[in-house]
Amino acid sequence: MTVSMSKSRLDRRFALTLLLGAGLALSAQAQSVSYRIATEGTYPPWSFKDAQGGLQGWDVDIAHALCEKMKARCEIVAQDWDGIIPGLMARKFDLIVASMAITEQRRQRVDFSDKYKETISRFVAKKGAPEDTGPDALKGKRIGVQRGSIQAAYLSQNYKSSDLKFYDTPQAAELDLVAGRVDYIFGNMVTYFIGFMKTPEAASFAFVGPELKGGLLGDGNGIAVRKGDTALLEKVNAALAAIRADGTYDRITAKYFPFKLM
């Protein structure tokens, strides 16, 4: 009696152990892939750090959502912009989810996912500035732009007779607009909309000219992987399609913006 009871208990324990083991093995298999994802970290609301040092923002949320769909464990790190592509190439991380504009130049160094966000560029100037922002209208005008950005490339190509000033950060260009050292700034419309245009200093400034996109101004934003990392790229594109289809993408966007990004 006692023997059989202890035996059945043993059996049960054995079965439990088996089950637990199988469960662990299954979950380990499901979670076995892990990726390191780089984002920028000083660029709200896309990616920024809160006062506790935690990473936040639209890109961070998108990255988490993608990881969930890819059934991968992810570590998201903030990386200075200048080192972000070199870091990817040196295998410091596997993905860049940092609102990176897809450009021909960058395509030569990394592979991009399908577009995951539209890029719209626009000029900002003193209220009442003329609506015409063509190269002829801005001849001799001082325009501030972030160094190395697609907007900088676009201006260098098309606004040769304007006085272009290059800044390391969008904020530095905004400061000089307020200080009157430049007449226009040119950059990402959404970024201005939620950032600079909401500050008290921007009260006397407004968007001028049309919404600009395409060509040098980019084919939108993409998620970057190392050249030739096709397996990962396919997974990312599938995950991207999945979060677009099931509404996760729009839900994340609605957390930050009153409009859609794609």
Binding site: T42, K49, D80, D82, G83, G87, M89, A90, K92, Q171
Partner: protein, 223 residues
């Protein structure tokens, strides 16, 4: 800390990282400097050439490139050599790059200081029956150290501020924290002003320490 929008503790963490980077690079860089100087003063042309090449190369290219070469180039090279990805710690890479740079200048400072000691001093020491090593440690080095102290201190303060360039490889030091704080709060003036004050406190402390050391080093010199 309300004026810093709650980012005060983040900035202090950054300051701590900056001090750690600077101190570690000071120690390792000084070792590089001693080695560089030793090489430069060799009779052997190969060794001497290596010493001069190191100083010329590192002093001749921007420190930013040294950081890139160590962190990204180092990773890629190790990956090629071992056939798999090797993680290089950002802090270690930062210290190594800063040390390479500091060592090149330190080597020049040390060599200049050693050569500034009058040859008669060494000859006098030998005449008194001191061995080469004894002469070096008891006669030459104390005098050379006095000469080297001021430029060495100068270079140390440069090093302290130079730590900001390793933010590019993801080292969360003071300037990177300031960039994050100014990005998040859109208060670049406040954040960078706060950071400027922190740097000023750090360099001020370093300067005071150096002045005391210099005074102590020359306490036996008349007037």
């Amino acid at each position: 800390m309300n004026i810093l929008h709650g980012f005060g503790s983040q900035l202090l963490l950054g300051a701590l990282a900056t001090v750690q980077l600077a101190l570690a690079s000071l120690v390792v860089g000084s070792l590089f400097g001693v080695t560089g100087c030793w090489l430069q003063l060799r009779q052997n042309r190969l060794l001497r050439g290596a010493g001069y090449l190191y100083a010329a190369l590192i002093r001749g290219i921007p420190d930013l490139l040294v950081v890139f070469a160590v962190y990204f180039g180092g990773s890629l090279t190790l990956a090629k050599l071992t056939g798999r990805y090797v993680e290089i710690d950002a802090f270690a890479a930062g210290v190594f790059a800063l040390s390479l740079s500091f060592g090149a200048y330190a080597a020049e400072i040390a060599r200049g200081a050693l050569l500034s000691v009058n040859a008669g001093q060494r000859e006098a020491a030998w005449t008194l029956g001191l061995s080469r090593t004894q002469a070096l440690w008891t006669v030459i080095l104390p005098q050379a150290a006095r000469t080297a102290l001021a430029p060495f201190g100068n270079q140390s303060i440069v090093l302290l501020k130079q730590t900001s360039i390793v933010s590019i490889v993801g080292c969360d030091e003071l300037m990177r924290k300031a960039a994050e704080a100014s990005g998040a709060t859109r208060q670049p003036f406040t954040m960078y002003l706060a950071v400027a004050l922190i740097y000023l406190v750090l360099t001020g402390a370093a300067t005071l320490l150096l002045e005391r050391t210099e005074r102590r080093a020359s306490r036996y010199l008349g007037a």
